[in-house]
Amino acid sequence: MEALIDKLKDNTPLAFVTTLAVSLLAFLLLDFVMMKLQGLSLVFHH
């Protein structure tokens, strides 16, 4: 873990892509849970 953080510290573009991907996934998970709690799915089916 520490090695990864050290690597990210030195490589800004890699750090940006990694944290953006993690953040987006985290927000998607949040959307999924909140919609599920309201009895709805993440994707709307017509």
């Binding site: 990210l8 800004t12 750090a15 944290t19 953040s23 949040l30 709307f44």
Partner: protein, 620 residues
């Protein structure tokens, strides 16, 4: 040492009108008792009970409570030349504005005092004292207006008042008594400020502040129960017959949503009013030291106002959702019916709040020599916030003439029409909140240089957090807002709000760790702000006042022709919804009256510091 205004008064034994407060509280108690003794004394004819009511009965089958009275026009006493509804409307609103202010100030005074105790920085203690000093005069005005409101209700709406005081007799009685506790806590807290200094005594003083807040909040919660009962009655049957369960009547459907909304809104409002006070003192300051002090005070007041403003829209959504849940008819009247257009004015005022708060922060960056690093970014923040503001107040439908309808090709504008629906507005307000938080982050960093080794990584984490949060808010707003049905649209607003909260909290935590033990670029130059920034503080206070008046009218107005919804009908000649222009004018008159009274309070604080020694007047 220069004593504050009220300390001078007390020392000279000229407290005078200050003693009105307990007297008024006593009058309120007597007023309640009197109406209970002769409920029909005000009306010309006896009031007919509702049909088919199953009244609550005592052991000997004698009914304890009757149904809600069915009134006629003659049951509403008239005073020549006075419109009862407008009188009650204005007095209730003025009472509420002052009450919101005096209930909010002790909350943040308590917090500031605690910060002062923790940091042992006396500036915080002095500022907390000055805040509470401003609220003391306002406290008297609150009590006077409360007394006037009670008398006004007894005079103009005696049967409604009697009905409500029958159901809420205990809470009204203890409400009046609680004023003694409130007054005692407030006076000891204020007058004992300099007396209760030192390691142990300061704790006693802080405890008094806590007690003051507890009593004040309890008072507000009790009064909230009476008004929410009128919107969502509980503890009564369909005819309005009280079951005898006072807690059920208090704990009605909309009680807690209003409690939450009012606590948050009061803090924001109290912050804005003391911010205006600081701006007033800043602009009238004659030396750099005073300017620096009031600039610092204004900044703290603005910080309090904005901290409470950010979660306020969410508390508002919660209240509105609960209104819909309780009664769809009331909900639709609120936002889809006659009051919908007032929400456009609300949107403009909320946008004004955000713009003036941001403008104040941007001006405040002038205090720091290190702000030049961030000044270039302000124009982008301004563009995004203004863009979100424009979406926020874009109406869905317009009031149009036939020619205008033809020219438009229908009731909705081709491009702007889609921006009129709620998903667009939810998205816009979340973006406004996010970028206001970003403005604050820039302001906070302006005078600092981070010293931790992971600065780059921390910045990247914050940028990606904001980017991902923003993308998620846009995804939720656009996908669910325009490509799904209403159930999904409404449901998506919850993860939208949570996304904003996650970004605010997470970026705040990262920032506080990143700037822990940070170096200062140069000492902060308090007082080095343009005068325009102070006018932004005035704008904040006026916008808040107007907004509260307008939304208060809407909340009360959605009862339409009911005193108590579906239980007790309003049969007075004024039982109609006035035109929007008329309502807006009444609210505006109220705002002007309130601001005039507030200016009077501010002026008093200036007068108290002036001293004259006329020669030849007094015997040598």
């Amino acid at each position: 040492m220069r004593l504050p205004f009220f300390a001078t008064y007390a020392r000279d034994g000229r407290a005078g009108w200050f003693h009105w407060i307990p007297l008024l509280a006593l009058l309120v108690v007597l007023g309640i008792s009197a109406t209970g003794c002769f409920p029909d004394a005000w009306a010309g004819e006896p009031v007919a009970p509702a049909q088919g009511s199953g009244a609550a009965a005592s052991a000997d089958n004698k009914p304890l409570y009757g149904p809600a009275p069915q009134l006629t026009e003659q049951d509403y006493p008239k005073v020549a030349g006075v419109n009862g509804r407008v009188f009650i409307w204005l007095v209730a609103q003025l009472h509420l504005w002052f009450a919101a202010f005096v209930l909010a100030v002790p909350i943040f005074v308590f917090i500031i005092e605690a910060i002062g105790m923790r940091t042992r920085d006396k500036r915080y203690d002095d500022m907390a004292y000055e805040f509470i000093k401003v609220s003391i005069t306002a406290y008297s005005l609150t009590a006077i207006l409360g007394g006037l409101l009670a008398f006004g209700l007894i005079l103009f709406y005696p049967h409604l008042f009697t009905y409500l005081s029958t159901i809420f007799k205990e809470s009204m009685f203890y409400y009046a008594l609680l004023f003694f506790a409130e007054s005692a806590c407030l006076y000891i807290y204020y007058y004992g400020w300099h007396w209760l200094q030192g390691p142990f005594r300061k704790w006693v003083h802080l405890t008094l502040g806590l007690l003051l807040n507890a009593v004040g909040t309890l008072l507000m919660f009790l009064a909230n129960a009476w008004l929410t009962f009128m919107m969502s009655p509980a503890g009564v049957d369909a005819a309005g017959t009280f079951s005898g369960d006072a807690w059920a009547a208090i704990h009605n459907f909309l009680w807690n949503p209003i409690n939450l909304h009012r606590v948050v809104a009061n803090i924001a409002y109290g912050g804005s009013i003391v911010g205006a006070y600081a701006a007033f003192k800043f602009l009238s300051a004659t030396n750099a030291k005073e300017k620096a002090h009031y600039d610092w005070m204004g900044y703290n007041a603005n910080f309090i106002a904005i901290s409470a403003l950010l979660p306020l829209p969410f508390a508002g959504y919660y209240l509105t959702a609960e209104i819909y849940a309780y009664s769809q008819q009331m909900g639709i009247t609120l936002m889809g019916g006659v009051f919908a257009w007032l929400f456009i004015i609300q949107a403009v005022l909320i946008g004004t709040l955000f713009l003036s708060a941001n403008y104040y922060l941007w001006c405040g960056m002038g205090r720091s020599d290190g702000a030049s690093r961030y000044n270039g970014k302000v124009k982008y923040l301004a563009a995004i916030i203004v863009g979100a503001f424009l979406v926020w107040f874009t109406p869905h439908t317009l009031v149009l003439t036939n020619q205008e309808l033809q020219a438009l090709g229908g009731p909705y504008h081709k491009y702007l029409g889609p921006l009129g629906i709620m998903p667009a507005k939810n998205t816009a307000v979340n973006i406004m909140i996010l970028f206001t938080a970003l403005s604050f982050l820039y302001y906070r960093r302006a005078n600092k240089i981070a010293t931790v080794s992971w600065v780059k990584l921390g910045n990247v984490a914050q940028i990606t957090l904001f980017t991902a949060g923003l993308l998620n808010i846009l995804f939720l707003g656009i996908y669910y807002g325009y490509f799904t049905n209403t159930v999904y649209k409404v449901a998506a607003s919850i993860p939208q709000v949570l996304s904003t909260l996650v970004v605010l909290i997470a970026s705040g935590v990262i920032d506080s760790f990143m700037y822990k033990n940070a170096k200062e670029v140069a000492p902060l130059q308090w007082g080095r702000v343009p005068a325009q920034s102070q006018y932004a503080l005035f704008l904040l206070a006026v916008s808040f006042t107007w907004l509260m008046g307008l939304m208060g009218y809407i909340r009360s107005g959605i009862r339409q022709h009911w005193h108590v919804v579906d239980i007790m009908r309003d049969n007075s000649p004024d039982a109609y919804t006035p035109t929007l222009g008329y309502a807006a004018n009444v609210v505006s008159v109220g705002t002007i009256l309130f601001m005039a009274m507030v200016i009077f309070v501010f002026w008093l604080s200036t007068v108290s510091s002036k001293k004259r020694s006329p020669t030849g007047y007094w015997k040598e």
